[in-house]
């Protein structure tokens, strides 16, 4: 049977198991929108800005592990997604972006709403396509989904000209994908795994340094088993939080610029580092030459380009993190049994406990009657929810406090823009996660600056009854930048004070959401509880200490043990 391009697209999405798409219409995709009502299994969420659509698709993908999909028109619709595409690219999140394009005869003519989106997004997509031939459409969609979620996941964009959407051809969805130039390597080398097991056994001061790859490859169960069986302490990057239970005694906390004393000192004193699905970001390593300088470095990553990029690696392993962890657990059982020579880790763990007790994450508690401390808000959220919720964050101090003062226990419970650090990400990402899990409590921990970047999506949340909770830590500043100005730029607070702010409570109400304001510590818990129990989207604006800073802090370019403590 012959179908139009628009129908082929929607049929193909069905074959890929897509149940929701986030989108915004326009002339170049009107043919697709014309067909959407005929596909009742496909829910379309109409956003208010295309940046919202891509972040929602991304949040959906982070929370579920499935591919997120967004649909936008050509030109301005397409360019509005670029920040979100780059965000997903940096954090290796599987999303498929469908953009409309002007009809093929007009391409290259500066036609109305034409933009070379394939050219624009080439450096920030895993791959992208311009479909000029209707007979290649189904195959292209199949490839796009395959590429987005295999190997190192990432965003894939498909640009679809209007005339191709209107043409007809027989629909035949391919079963398999064959791409000569694309063969991700999943299985770890057996000898290398053996070597790692022996190194781990012999190591006196081993540390597991886990990244987002552990979460995206579903390796956290196996990683947790390894750590707990052999008493190996675990630290994680911002992207790795949740891959190891944050309440386990072996948990060191996050490492890096705003990492814990114990994590950074463990790395610096380690004799063996097992880096799993992490990429040695500069926010993690600080001064490279001093990062883990005493350690034998083992690095596992699905992406060969991550290995040896920043740091010298002694044992490089290109593999899927989960397959590697499974193999390592098997091998460890064998090695540990053969050689009871496995070095006991008690001394190392005692040292770590000492670091943890001496220098826990802390902050100066609020003075009597003084302003609320932002950290205490995150702690309150943790206490009330017992950690049973999905947290998304904006970017800045709010993000770091949400990383530090909440114990993530399960993968995919923290959604945050790690690589690109995109303000405006958290709220739409929370909507995406809520669309996937309507019953779960989803909370965006926000700054007063960031939340204003995609605030218009309140309408989307209200429209689809997605009861996302936004907790704004309102410090009246672009806090993280102000912190840098305070510490390194002579307190020249140029353009970081948000003098004019909306009344967030009224704003929430104007959109049909609920709004709460907390100014006194005594009201915090009760208000949060009330908001979390409200069955609709809410803003809780908490007026916090305007000058509070994120500590510990490693100044840029310094070694990670040169920390400014509270």
């Amino acid at each position: 049977m012959e179908l139009t391009g628009a129908q082929i697209l929607l049929e193909s999405l069905g074959r890929e198991g897509v149940d929701v798409i986030f989108g915004f219409p326009g002339g170049a995709v009107i043919d697709i929108y014309h067909q959407i009502p005929n596909y009742p299994n496909l829910k379309h969420v109409l956003v208010r800005h295309e940046q919202g659509a891509i972040h929602m698709a991304d949040g959906y993908a982070r929370a579920t592990g499935k591919v997120g999909v967004c649909l936008v028109t050509s030109g301005p619709g397409a360019t509005n997604t670029v920040t979100g595409i780059a965000t997903a690219y940096m954090d290796s999140i599987p999303v498929v972006i469908i953009t409309g394009q002007v009809p093929t005869p007009l391409i290259g003519n500066d036609a109305f709403q034409e933009v070379d989106i394939v050219g624009i997004t080439r450096p920030c997509t895993k791959h992208n396509y311009l479909v000029k031939d209707i007979t290649k459409l189904a195959k292209t969609i199949k490839e796009a989904f395959f590429l987005a979620q295999s190997g190192r996941p990432g965003p894939v964009l498909v640009d679809l000209p209007k005339d191709v959407q209107q043409q007809r051809c027989v629909f035949n969805y391919p079963k398999k994908v064959a791409l000569r130039g694309y063969n991700p390597h999943y299985d770890p080398n057996v000898k290398q795994v053996r070597k790692v097991a022996e190194l781990l056994c012999k190591a006196k001061h081993p540390v597991i340094y886990a990244g987002g790859g552990v979460i995206s490859s579903s390796a956290s169960k196996d990683l947790t088993k390894l750590a707990q069986t052999y008493n190996i302490p675990v630290t994680a990057t911002l992207m790795g939080l949740g891959c190891f239970p944050g309440d386990d005694p072996l948990w060191l906390g996050m490492l890096g610029m705003h990492g814990t004393f114990a994590a950074n000192h463990s790395i610096s004193n380690a004799d063996l580092i097992l880096a799993v699905g992490a990429r040695f970001d500069d926010r993690v390593t600080g001064k490279l030459s001093e990062f883990a300088s005493k350690a034998t470095m083992v690095h596992i990553d699905i992406d060969p380009t991550s290995i040896q990029k920043n740091v010298r690696v002694d044992v490089p392993i290109v593999a899927d993190c989960r397959l590697f962890m499974e193999a390592l657990n098997r091998e460890m059982a064998d090695v540990a049994q053969q050689k009871d020579a496995c070095v006991p880790k008690d001394k190392w763990l005692a040292q770590i406990t000492e670091w943890k007790t001496k220098h826990p994450l802390k902050y100066k508690p609020a003075a009597k009657g003084g302003p609320i401390k932002p950290q205490s808000v995150v702690e309150a959220i943790y206490k009330i929810t017992k950690g049973d919720c999905i947290i998304s964050t904006e970017v800045g101090q709010n993000q770091m406090w949400a990383a530090q003062f909440f114990n993530y226990k399960k993968p995919r419970t923290l959604l945050t823009s790690g690589g690109l650090g995109t303000m405006g990400f958290g709220f739409p990402a929370a909507i995406g996660a809520q669309a996937a899990f309507p019953e779960k409590l989803v909370i965006d921990v926000a700054g007063d600056g960031s939340i204003q970047m995609c605030i218009q999506e309140l309408a989307t949340a209200v429209c689809y009854n997605l009861p996302v909770k936004i907790v704004i830590l309102n410090n009246g500043y672009l806090g993280m930048v102000r912190q840098w100005q305070e510490l390194f730029y002579d307190k020249n607070y140029c353009s970081t004070c948000l003098d004019v702010a909306p009344d967030f409570v009224k704003l929430a109400e104007a959109y049909g959401a609920a709004g709460f304001r907390v100014t006194e510590a005594k009201d915090l818990d009760a208000t949060l509880k009330k908001a979390f129990a409200t069955p609709k989207a809410c803003i809780v604006e908490v007026v916090v200490d305007p000058e509070e800073n994120v500590y510990p802090m490693v100044p840029a370019g310094k070694s990670i043990t040169e920390m400014i403590l509270v």
């Binding site: 394939v118 050219g119 080439r122 450096p123 895993k126 791959h127 311009l130 590429l147 791409l179 000569r180 130039g181 694309y182 992406d303 060969p304 380009t305 040896q308 990029k309």
Partner: protein
Amino acid sequence: MRHILSVLVENEPGVLSRVSGLFSGRGFNIETLNVAPTLEDGVSIMTITTIGDEQIIEQIIKQLRKLVTVIKVVDLTEVKNVEREMMLLKVAAEEGKRAEILRIVDVFRCKVVDVGFDELTIEVTGTQDKLTALINLMQRFGIKETARTGAVAMRRSMQ
């Protein structure tokens, strides 16, 4: 060190910009780049020469392999190879100088492919060194224009 990379790619729109964009976006440098179709339908070969330390070259090769439209990357510097470049060189050649220029053309086993009143266009093929040597020799007559293909290279058969 200078490396010669042989890159087999799908011949489709945008493939060149994917490759060149990878270099520019990551701060790598392309010295020469040459692309043309192979005997196989839909497949082209690029020869890229680039300069960098071992770590950079390793990154370049891995990043190239990561592109979905790149089928194969070989670092020819690591094997015995044949490398050639073609150049057209237009040199000033007044009456009195012509004979000497033609003598050099002969010694270098290159060809005159176009003759004007007071200039000659020479086609020369060879290694970078040979091309440089010819340029050096011709400089004193006055070189008016050059056009070079950039290196093309292959693994040697017997090794």
